[in-house]
Every structure is written in C-alpha cells, then in structure tokens.
C-alpha cells in the first residue's frame, strides 16, 4: 500500500513515539493532514465538540470514543451499570436474578455507590443500616488517587448534605464538587500481608457490535505499608490506595519493582495456595465483569467508526476471591516507573497498534475489525458479539433440528466462557 501513516500525539511518551518510529510512520502536527492521533482526553473533547465541527475522514483514527466518560467517569459508570441491571430485570433476563437478600447474583460487581450530593439521603439510609462500615469518597472528575478520603462517620461528609430540600443542583450552584461515595472493601485479599489492586488493559474496537480484548500482561499494584482495617489508620492513604502516583511518595517505594507484581505471579501464587479451580473461577469472573461493564455502556456509547480505546481497568479482589470493579481509566498511564514497566507498556502499544492499524498501513475506518489470531500479540479476544451471535444462532439451529450438542467446540470468544460458567 502506498503512503505512510502520518501520526500526531499530544502525549510525549517514549513508548508511543518508539512504536510509531518503528513502523516508519511520519510525524506531523495536528494542523496538518494526519491519519493517527493518540490524544489526551482533553483533546478528544475538542475534536468531537459541536463548536469545532471537526469532521474525520475515513483515513483517520483516534484512540478515544467521543463519550468514553460514560464508562470512565466514576459517577456515570455507576449510573450506566445500574440502568443496565434494571433493563435486564425488566426483560426478565436470567442475568438479573437476585438472591434471597435482594442482591444480584451475577451483576453485583461494583461496591454499593451513591452520588453526592445528589443521592445524599439514599446514602444516609444505607449508612444507617450498617453504621460501622467504612466508605470511600472520590471526586468524580479526578484521577490518580487525587482528592480521595475515607470516612466512617456521617459528620465527616456533612458538607455534601442537601442545603435545601428541593434543589438537586446544589453541587453546581454552591461550588461543591460532585463526589461518589462507595462502600469500602475492607476485607481485601492480602498477599504477604499487603493490599493490592489489579490493573488490567482492555481494548475495545467497536461497541456495536461489541468487540473487546483483554491484555494478558496486567499487574498487581501493592501498597508499601501493611494493611490494617483499623479506623485509626483511615487517614494514612499509603495503607489504602494502590495508585502508583500515591505510593511513589511513600518512604518504602522501591524503584526496582515499583511495587508491581505480574498477573502471572498472582496466578501462580493463587493456584499454589488456593488451588487451580478457584483461581480459574476468579479469572473467569474478572473477564465476566469487564464484559458486563462494557455491555452496560454500549447502548449509550457514540460508536464512532474512527475510534478505538485502550482502557485501564482497576479491580480489587476480596478475601473470598470475589473481584470488584473499582473504576475504568480512559488514559491509563504510559509513564514507565521501572524497566519491566517500560517493556510492558511498549508491548501494550505495539499490540494495540497491530490490531487497530493492520499491517501498519493507513487506517480505513470501515475495516471489518476482525484481526487474524496471529495479529493479537498478548491480547486475547474477550468478547466478540458478532461471533457470539452467529454461534448462538448455530446453536439454536442445531437444537431445533434435534441434534445433541456433545461438545461446544472451540470458542472464539473467551467472554462466552465465564458467562456459561456463571449463569448456567
């Protein structure tokens, strides 16, 4: 194919630039004609804003969906998941089944969460049911652990109570920032006595039909300080938050490993200490909640054909080996804190580019979005809606014709597996 890809980025990270240069792509400025723009979320807002009226051509590709915040803003993600559950319930879907305590059996994967100040009264009602619980306050629009704090008394968040009975716009008018408040997972799985969370990378190439990929090389981020659920340590954020941006300021931060452990280490440890079966179930469940979170936002997402997105999923595992979705980042950090980190992130971008720009050629946004298996690198197909539908159509056909389904054959989409394992 003639012509080299012309690229722009407003994120000056070596893992990006090295990848573009390796492909012999040509760097241009954003005012020139470009094919590939790896941009920050501030820039994507301008590209798709009504005012600028920018129109992308078929040969242009960007690394965010226009309204990615439906998934990546804490409050909107919760709103969308709640809506998704209700819709499934209305349809009478088996997925929306509840246990005898009224909890969703398959869709209870985010900690109980409320918006503040909007849901203040609902929160108070929930808080009083369980007054000894700890809650975590997070500002809606901030990342990297900024502005986060823990509370265990109502008095600590008086500021967010409603001033007037009627106004739902207190936050905007009084200058109070909007927060989400979530039940704090106070029984996290500890390894070597330390708390950690999982950072997993997920690539979405289209929402309708949904096609998503899980990166095999995620990692665990460890707190440098021993975990204690004791309330006296509520103010010590090193105990509770695993964000590298926070942990870097701790005295014990180690610059060799950066407190990061590979997912394969986690798997080896869990298989060795807890057994293969429960470990597989945990990873199946993690895949399941990622797919469900994407399905929850798919209907509202602007499925622009010029877009793809690589998300950073943050997941906490509790001591019963249940995974909880904490949040999703639209711009996972591409800064490398250690040598291994640099290799990982370089490969992440490399594998992402191999999928979204097949053969490193000038993108055509009308492409079929079905990369060959050998182009996946460290990605694995998490869910492919098209394929899942054609499989289930085949399934229907076969069962109607009275054939027994001895084996389901090899499944292309890993997303089907946890589903089958969980709700049947």
């Amino acid at each position: 194919m003639a012509g080299k890809v012309k690229w722009v980025t407003d994120i000056e990270k070596s893992v990006l630039i090295n990848n573009f240069e390796k492909r012999e792509w040509v760097q241009v400025t954003e005012n020139e004609d470009w094919n590939f723009y790896w941009m920050s979320i501030q820039t994507i807002r301008n590209v798709f804003s009504v005012d600028t009226g920018y129109r992308l051509s078929d040969e242009q590709l960007v690394n965010h969906f226009p309204n990615h915040y439906e998934l990546t803003r804490k409050d909107l993600m919760i709103k969308n998941i709640k809506r998704y559950r209700k819709e499934l319930e209305k349809e009478g879907s088996l997925l929306a089944e509840k246990d005898k305590n009224g909890k969703y059996i398959y869709l209870d994967f985010v900690p109980v969460t409320f918006m503040l100040p909007a849901d203040y009264n609902l929160f108070v009602e929930e808080f009083r049911k369980n007054p000894s619980s700890t809650w975590i306050m997070k500002p809606c629009g901030k990342a990297q652990g900024k502005g986060i704090f823990l509370i265990n008394k109502l008095s600590q968040i008086k500021k967010w109570s409603r001033d007037s009975r009627t106004s739902t716009f207190v936050a905007a008018s009084s200058g109070k920032e909007a927060y989400v408040i979530s039940l704090y997972i106070d029984n996290p799985l500890l390894i070597g006595g330390k708390k950690f969370d999982l950072r997993l990378y997920v690539l979405v190439t289209t929402y309708r039909p949904l096609k998503c990929y899980m990166y095999k090389l995620g990692f665990c981020r460890f707190c440098t300080v021993k975990y204690t659920p004791s309330t006296s340590e509520l103010d010590n954020m090193f105990v509770h938050l695993t964000n590298v941006a926070i942990q870097k300021h701790g005295d014990d931060y180690n610059h060799v490993h950066g407190g990061k452990w590979t997912v394969s280490n986690l798997r080896l440890y869990l298989e060795s200490t807890r057994g293969k079966e429960v470990t597989n179930r945990l990873f199946d469940q993690i895949h399941w909640i990622v797919v469900q979170s994407l399905k929850a936002v798919a209907p509202v997402m602007n499925n622009d054909k010029h877009c793809f997105e690589c998300y950073g999923y943050d997941i906490i595992i509790d001591d019963k080996l249940k995974p909880w979705l904490i949040e999703v980042n639209a711009s996972p950090s591409l800064t490398s804190s250690t040598a291994n980190d640099r290799i990982l992130k370089y490969n992440l971008i490399n594998d992402t580019l191999n999928i979204v720009t097949p053969n490193g050629e000038i993108p055509d946004c009308r492409w079929n979005r079905s990369p060959p298996r050998e182009a996946l690198g460290n990605y694995q197909v998490l869910y492919d809606e098209e394929q899942a539908q054609s499989e289930s159509a085949e399934h229907d056909l076969r069962s109607r014709s009275g054939q027994l389904l001895g084996s389901k054959g090899t499944r292309g989409s890993a997303g089907a597996r946890p589903a089958a394992a969980t709700w049947k």
């Binding site: 390894i191 005295d251 060799v256 080896l268 060795s272 200490t273």
Partner: protein
C-alpha cells in the same frame, strides 16, 4: 573393613527405631494403641493383629511409614561403629581441613564485625523494645534501621575462591594435567557422573515420558495427548495426596513435576514436615548480631526482587526464627560443617563456656534468604512455610555452602558442571575461557542459591520438584549446561529469567550425542 549388607541394614533399623522412640509420634501411637483396647473389634485372643489392623485403618500406620521415610533421608550413612564421628561427616581429611579453616575465617570475620561496630553477638532486649517488636511482628519490613555499617559476612564469590584453592595433597595433579587436561577451576579428583550415568539416574526425565512444565514442548507431544497426560498426572497426584498420604509415592511423583495446585501439599508430604513455629519468643527476647545480617540480606535481595518483594515480612519471620532453632543443629551430624562456637566474655577457649552461635549453627551469607523466598509462593501460613523451609535446608540447601566430598555437595556439583561442559560443549568452554570468563565464575552464584532469584518462579519450582523427587541437588549442576547448549549468546548468561528449565534438562540429558 567393609560391613556386609545385613549388618548395614540392621544398624540402620536400630538407628531409626532409636530415634523414633523419643518422638511425639511414638507417644501418640502408643496412646492410640492403649485407647483402642476398649473397642469391641479388639479381641484378646488376636490382640496383636487387631491392634495392628486398627492402627492401619485409622491411618496411623501411614504416618509411621512417612516418619520412617523421613528418617531414611536424613540419617547418617551407616559405617563401622568404631569410626570417629568426624569421619562420618566427611571421610576426606583435606576436605575436613578446608571446611574447618573456612569456618574459622567466617567466625573471625563475624567477631571482628562485632568488635568494630560495638554490637554484641547477642543481647537481651529491654522490655519496651520487646513490646515494640511484638507489635510489629507482622510488619518488620516497615522498620528502616541503619544497616549501612553491616556487610554480609561472605558472598558466594568468596566461597568460590576457597573451592578453587582446594587440593588433594595425596594426588599429583601435575601428572593428571598432562594426561587429560581439565580446563575448569575445580582441581580436586572426585568422581562425578557423566551423561550415561545421569541418564540412568534420571530416567523419568526421558524425552518420551510425560513431564509437567512442558507446555513449550508442544512439538514433542501433540496437544491432545499432552492434555490427556496432564489430566492423568493430575489425577494420580490427587490420589497420592488426598487418598494415599504416602511420602514415598509423592516423591516418586514429583520427579515428573508437580501440578501447581498440588505442589504445596506434595512437598509437605515428601518432606513430612509438621507445622511448627514456636521460636517467636526467642526472637522477641534477644537481639542477635546475625539478625542485622538477615535484615540486610533480605533488603539487598528479596526486597528488590520482582517476584519476592511482596513476601519481605514473611522472610524476616522465618529467618529470625530459623537462627534460633536449635533443632537445626541435628543436621551437623551429617553435614561436613561444624556449628560455630562463641565463648562467654573472658572465657575464650574454655569449652565449658562455649555456646553455639547463632543458636542454629548457621551463619547467613549474602543471598541466604533466597532459599526461603520461592516457598512463599506455596505457603501463605508462616508456620507451614517455616517447617518446609527448615526441612529443605537440613536435607539439601546446607550442601550448597559446605565443603565436602558428597556427590551432591557443592564441590562435586561444580566439578560435574565443568566436566559436562568440557566434554559436551568444548567450543563454548574454550571460548569463554579465552575471553576471560571461566564458566564456573558465572554459574557459581546460581548454583549456590539453587537458582533462586535467577529463574522465574514457575520454572524454579519445577526444578525444585526434581530436587525433591530425586532427593539430589545434582539437577542444579546439569541445569547450566543446558542453557548454554541452546542459547550460546551472552544475553542468556546474564538473564535466565525467561528460560524454560525442564525441556532443556531433558534435551541435554537425552538428546546429546555421546
């Protein structure tokens, strides 16, 4: 005068019976036997048989078998009753002498560290300090004492120099050099196994037999048969662990690699380790100079390791308790080393005032904590972790830093390594020597640590499966050759972390043309 087999056997049996008589298991079984007399199925006329069959069905017989099995592993080679003890530990006089002078050197360096830094070898902690330590027992890693003045007593490279200088005074090595030149650094005449002998000893590693840890050997077994093999192996392992509780069978099984989910139980069974970690009080009450060395070692090694940093606090717990564990002293009966002694103030040289120091007789060196670190992946309970580590140490690891002629001792391992390399990869050996890189200088630190910290953990555990399975460290020596065999580039010499161990050992042993 050599003893005949019958005498050896009866000596061994007598030894084991003697040792088991004093054990907790013995009293437990005795109690069980007494208690069962009230049971209806025990008849007076067939008392002996009935009690025996009761012990069998209630699982006590199996426990006894396992205990005997363990004794067989750690007991001394039976020898003539009049032979002095030190000859049992190490038959060759020049090895004994070398070990003794090495011990003297280490102890001297420890003592001078104590004098120079003004830190006593041991001191009782004041009450407040004891309390503080009790409170932070589970998070000793958060403590940042100033350890800049402490240096490891020795590092593997210091030990290597000692091994290189070993000579047998009764052996004219000059003559040997002319006859069959040896390019390596180790200059003592010990018998080590060559490839045909190794093949015989490690028959289960044969290319055609199934191995766990061979997912990368897809070209050898088609996928279907491999899956079948895995599931077979898995179910065998399951039977062994859950149903059988049989050490001997577990060990046999381990030769082909343990499935990850069963490894922890299999190893505990092979080692017949019992949970115990009651030495905490000893750590709380007294502060030892070696504690600082342990602390420093963990900080220098495991705390900076991508795999093991998570377990820092477990390592302190295990190693500090280990240093106070006098049960470890028992292994000096068959270790060529002798526990170091220290004398109470002003009584130097007076045996009446001598105490073993540290209490377990083992002075840690740079990298010692890496013997424990991989086990943290298997046991999340400190007491279990501790007992498995201690058992591994007194069976295998001590040999990696004691001078002896034992065929799984470090001297033999080094020699075997050099011989294998010289015989089968002469060009590589020659080339490395030409550029001033003696292969043993590269490989020694890997072998001293049984590869811990140099291989990725999953591969390391597969290697240690075989150490337990074959009850020998010999696989450690064979290991290095395999790498060089297939990856003669130097990147590999520096970084082993991406290698797959077992297929390499297999191919080296069974596909090398002799």
């Amino acid at each position: 005068r050599r003893m005949d087999e019958g005498t050896v056997l009866s000596l061994s049996i007598a030894q084991i019976v003697q040792r088991l008589k004093g054990s907790h298991l013995h009293s437990q079984i005795e109690r069980q036997a007494k208690d069962c007399l009230h049971r209806p199925e025990i008849k007076l006329e067939s008392l002996k048989e009935d009690v025996r069959s009761f012990l069998k069905t209630s699982g006590w017989e199996k426990k006894l078998q396992n205990a005997i099995y363990r004794e067989l592993h750690i007991q001394l080679p039976p020898s003539h009753p009049t032979a002095p003890l030190e000859h049992l530990k190490e038959p060759l006089a020049y090895m004994r002498k070398a070990q003794a002078s090495w011990e003297k050197r280490i102890l001297k360096s420890l003592n001078s560290m104590s004098t120079e830094l003004g830190v006593p070898l041991a001191r009782k902690r004041p009450g407040a300090e004891q309390k503080e330590l009790t409170n932070k027992w589970n998070e000793m890693g958060t403590d940042e004492p100033d350890l800049s003045r402490f240096r490891p007593v020795y590092a593997p490279k210091d030990f290597l120099e000692v091994l290189i200088s070993l000579r047998n005074p009764n052996h004219d090595s000059c003559e040997d050099v002319c006859a069959r030149s040896h390019w390596g650094l180790i200059q003592v005449p010990l018998n080590v196994r060559d490839i045909p002998q190794l093949r015989q000893a490690y028959a289960e590693l044969n290319l055609s037999s199934g191995q766990l840890g061979i997912d990368d050997l897809a070209h050898v077994h088609p996928v279907g048969s491999r899956l079948f093999l895995h599931s077979c192996l898995f179910s065998i392992a399951f039977c062994v662990v859950v149903v059988g509780q049989d050490s001997a069978a577990a060990q046999q099984y381990s030769r082909r690699g343990c499935p990850t989910g069963l490894r922890a139980d299999l190893w505990a069974l092979i080692l017949n380790s019992t949970n115990q970690l009651q030495l905490r009080a000893g750590v709380i009450q007294h502060n030892l100079l070696v504690d600082n060395l342990i602390y420093k070692d963990v900080k220098l090694t495991a705390s900076n390791d991508d795999y093991y940093f998570v377990f820092e606090d477990f390592l302190y717990q295990v190693l500090l308790c280990f240093s106070r564990d006098t049960a470890v002293l028992e292994h000096f009966k068959y270790n060529s080393a002798t526990p170091p002694k220290s004398y109470l103030h002003g009584k130097v040289g007076d045996e009446e005032y001598a105490v073993v120091y540290p209490p377990n007789g083992v002075i840690p060196f740079h990298g010692f904590s890496m013997y424990v670190a991989p086990l943290c992946f298997l046991y999340n309970e400190p007491s279990k972790l501790y007992s498995v580590f201690r058992e591994m140490y007194i069976r295998y690891f001590f040999r990696l830093h004691s001078i002896s002629s034992s065929f799984s001792g470090i001297v033999s391992l080094c020699l075997q390594f050099e011989r294998l390399l010289q015989t089968h990869l002469p060009q590589l050996f020659y080339h490395l020597r030409q550029i001033g890189a003696q292969p043993l200088r590269i490989a020694f630190k890997w072998m001293v640590r049984a590869f811990s910290g140099y291989l990725s953990t999953d591969q390391l555990l597969l290697l240690w499966d075989r150490i337990l399975g074959y009850d020998s460290l010999e696989v450690v020596a064979g290991r290095y050759n395999l790498n060089s065999y297939f990856h003669t580039n130097y990147a590999v010499l520096a970084d082993l972390s991406t290698l797959k161990v077992i297929p390499l050992i297999q191919i080296f042993l069974f596909a090398t043309a002799i």
